[in-house]
């Protein structure tokens, strides 16, 4: 079939369902986009249902201006918030869900940072190796070919200079971005501190590729890349549509409707902007709505055969929610450091990822290229102008240095995405309730990350001005673990083929299937798992 009428750029698009298709994908973020793209390549008829809108690429510079100028709330850049995105956070710690997501064609890759590392072999075997967490039912070798395909699909600029990375079989698709000037300052200090630095794999073009520009240095990667150099999944969606995938935007799926015997999903029930409800039927369904909306939709899809939510006989749907926590140290040097020219990082250290510290989890260290204030943003919020403002900007800008780092949480059943029946969204559905807490092991790991950062700063001739650690950490906005993968139907939601144990034609492609979080940004693993899921769906059709 063609994309005609499915997402017309003029007039009102046709949002009525297609006659029963081969595959219905819920969510047009990176996972849904890659699943749809692969399955149309295999000759299948695919419909994608996306809750959010299409964002016109031509508007990205305006969105960038909104991100820089203080008059516009940060969430307004991608229209996040309001009744549609209402949520509850009743756990020990508040969880700022709407900072963490974008609803629309492209999903959260519209506002992501674009760092794409593979998980380490150890991440798949934490129970066997360290006696903590759980083991994945697949290992790194299973995902390794999919990682390569994912790097090609997203377009990753990287270098094989990382001695701590897991084995890889081929070069990155593009050369890495060269180290920054401030990296060179860190390099001297790290040499003295005995810490090895290396390049960062970035899902952003270091050279023109896939009809997208090379990076031109707008410096606003998060939350918007006006040049399109940073990968976002709308590019994959557009390519898939040109091959015949049908994508319906602004059609939030309300529930998945099982067949009478409860064995299969019969239809995805969605609503259109004019309030009409439709049913999209398909032979196979792929749920790719992220780590929060994926379990929420399953919990909203209660039925006679699935009284606790669809595919939830284990009770694990929504549980084992995991995040990455930020550890950071920053200060000022006695010399210029050249920050905020670009919005991405060019050096990291994974030396302490597979560490042998006592009761400490993996640590990823980052060397930031955007430490301290951006002069233009500072000017727009200043309470002065003229020469006084210029003096303040000169004083504030230019000598900052900062390190970041990620630390992962182990899976704990108490951390979960549940439904809050007391609060409903714009369609009357209970909103997600994020019940989130930190444990001592995570705090201990954050403290260790801070110790390592302090060692570097000791050799930098830079005064430490701030530390983010165990007491004031925050999430990195990576939702994981809420429909965990496993062999045992009593303890997990999907099997190693990413299909739900309980429902024969329902697959999940999302960070929600992660068994452990590792401490690497999750999107490359999401992409690899999506491609693997697509292979299994293809085999079942």
């Amino acid at each position: 079939m063609t994309a005609a009428g499915s997402g017309g750029r003029t007039g009102t698009p046709d949002r009525t369902p297609s006659p029963r298709v081969d595959v219905c994908v819920v969510g047009a973020g990176p996972a849904g986009a890659l699943v749809a793209s692969r399955l149309v390549d295999r000759g299948h008829e695919v419909v994608v249902l996306e809750a959010g809108p299409r964002f016109d690429r031509a508007d990205r510079r305006e969105r960038m201006e909104r991100s820089i100028r203080p008059a516009h709330g940060a969430r307004s850049v991608w229209n996040v918030g309001g009744e549609r995105d209402a949520f509850t956070a009743s756990g020990e710690r508040f969880y700022p869900l709407n900072v963490a997501r974008v609803k629309g064609v492209g999903g959260s890759t519209l506002h992501w940072q674009g760092m794409v590392m593979r998980l380490h072999e150890s991440d798949f075997e934490r129970q066997a190796r360290d006696g903590v967490g759980a083991d994945w039912p697949i290992d790194y070798a299973d995902l390794r070919p999919y990682y390569s395909e994912a790097e090609r699909a997203l377009g990753v600029a990287g270098d094989a200079d990382n001695p701590f990375a897991p084995p890889r079989e081929e070069p990155f698709p593009m050369p890495a971005f060269s180290p920054s000037y401030s990296d060179s300052l860190f390099a001297e200090a790290c040499e003295e501190a005995g810490i090895a630095m290396h390049s960062v794999p970035n899902a952003r073009n270091s050279q023109p590729r896939d009809d997208r520009s090379e990076c031109v240095g707008y410096g606003t990667c998060q939350p918007v890349c006006p040049s399109g150099a940073k990968y976002s999944a709308d590019a994959t969606i557009e390519a898939a549509e040109s091959k015949g995938v049908r994508v319906l935007d602004s059609v939030p799926v309300q529930r998945l409707e099982p067949t009478d015997d409860g064995e299969r999903v019969g239809a995805a029930v969605y609503t259109t902007p004019d309030g009409e409800e439709h049913r999209q039927e398909a032979r196979q369904f792929v749920l790719a709505a992220g780590g929060v909306e994926t379990p929420r939709l399953l919990l909203l899809s209660k039925a006679a055969e699935h009284p606790d939510g669809l595919a939830n006989s284990s009770g694990a749907v929504g549980r084992y929610f995991m995040e990455h926590l930020f550890a950071g140290t920053g200060g000022r040097a006695d010399r210029a450091t050249r920050q905020n020219h670009v919005g991405f990082n060019t050096s990291e250290s994974h030396q302490f990822y597979d560490n042998d510290f006592e009761k400490v989890d993996p640590i990823k260290l980052e060397f930031l290229n955007y430490a301290g204030p951006s002069p233009v943003e500072m000017a727009l919020t200043a309470d002065e102008w003229g020469d006084d403002l210029l003096d303040s900007l000169r004083e504030a800008y230019g000598t900052h240095l900062a390190m970041g780092g990620l630390v992962g949480q182990l899976p704990r059943a108490r951390n979960r995405v549940a439904l809050d029946p007391t609060t409903t969204d714009d369609h009357g559905n209970p909103v997600p309730d994020i019940q989130w807490s930190l444990d001592d092991r995570t705090r201990r790991t954050l403290a260790k990350a801070n110790d390592l950062q302090a060692q570097v700063f000791d050799h930098l001739d830079a005064g430490v001005e701030w530390v983010v650690g165990p007491e004031n950490t925050g999430p990195a906005y990576h939702h994981m673990g809420t429909t965990r993968m496993g062999e045992d139907p009593d303890e997990s939601v999907v099997n190693p083929r990413l299909r739900t144990h309980d429902v024969a034609n329902l697959t999940v492609a999302s960070s929600s299937v992660f068994v452990t979080s590792g401490a690497m940004n999750p999107t490359l693993t999401i992409a690899a798992l999506a491609l693997k899921a697509a292979d299994h769906v293809d085999a079942d059709l």
């Binding site: 031509a58 990205r60 510079r61 305006e62 969105r63 960038m64 201006e65 820089i68 100028r69 203080p70 008059a71 971005f177 060269s178 180290p179 920054s180 000037y181 270091s206 090379e214 990076c215 031109v216 240095g217 707008y218 410096g219 606003t220 006006p226 040049s227 010399r335 210029a336 450091t337 050249r338 905020n340 020219h341 670009v342 919005g343 060019t346 290229n369 951006s374 002069p375 233009v376 943003e377 000017a379 727009l380 309470d383 002065e384 102008w385 003229g386 020469d387 403002l389 210029l390 900007l393 000169r394 800008y397 230019g398």
Partner: protein
């Protein structure tokens, strides 16, 4: 430090008003076409441009030169291509002119830089949060003060005043972040 046409083009790119091809055409053909279009399309456009120039002369640092030429060319294109912005700025200008008449018995654009700064302060714009639909102070901050500050500090020349030749919002390439500070 002198502001140039190139800076105005860069500011317009940073403000999302024009894209790559538009920027090239504008740099090549000049701003006359947009300026004419602006004058023809929107009542009071000239007055808004004059007021933005007056604001810039009050809030830009003293070492910046060619403020008038820079802001006129920037504002002409912005107002021509963003009718919603022009309409909002026209409303805010009414309040700004009212304050100018109370204080100096003249419209805002007719004031010298010292008088302009006095009027801007009297509106409360110096410490106000920018808001396109807010109080007079908030609207003046949004449409006038922040508009010209964004144009300046989002441009390479404005950035260089502070020490960053590729400020956030400017597509200055991927060389500058690697340069040593002595370059």
């Amino acid at each position: 430090m002198k502001l140039t046409r190139r800076d105005a083009v860069a500011a317009l790119v940073g403000a999302g008003v024009i894209g790559g091809a538009g920027a090239a055409a504008l740099a090549r053909d000049g701003f006359q076409a947009d300026s004419n279009a602006a004058n023809g399309e929107g009542e009071g456009t000239e007055a808004i441009v004059e007021a933005l120039v007056g604001t810039a002369r009050a809030v830009y640092p003293s070492e910046v030169e060619n403020v008038g030429g820079f802001v006129e060319t920037y504002a002409a294109t912005k107002l021509a291509r963003r009718p919603d912005f022009r309409a909002g700025a026209a409303d805010a200008l009414s309040d700004l002119d009212a304050e100018a008449r109370i204080t100096f018995d003249a419209r805002f654009a007719a004031l010298d830089p010292v008088e302009s700064e006095t009027v801007l302060r009297r509106t409360g714009a110096e410490t106000a949060e920018p808001d396109s639909e807010g109080t007079t102070a908030e609207q003046v901050r949004y449409y006038f003060v922040n508009e010209v500050l964004y144009a300046l500090y989002g441009s390479p020349t404005g950035g260089e005043l502070v020490g960053i030749e590729n400020p956030q919002g400017h597509p200055g390439g991927t060389d500058s972040y690697r340069r040593r500070p002595d370059r």
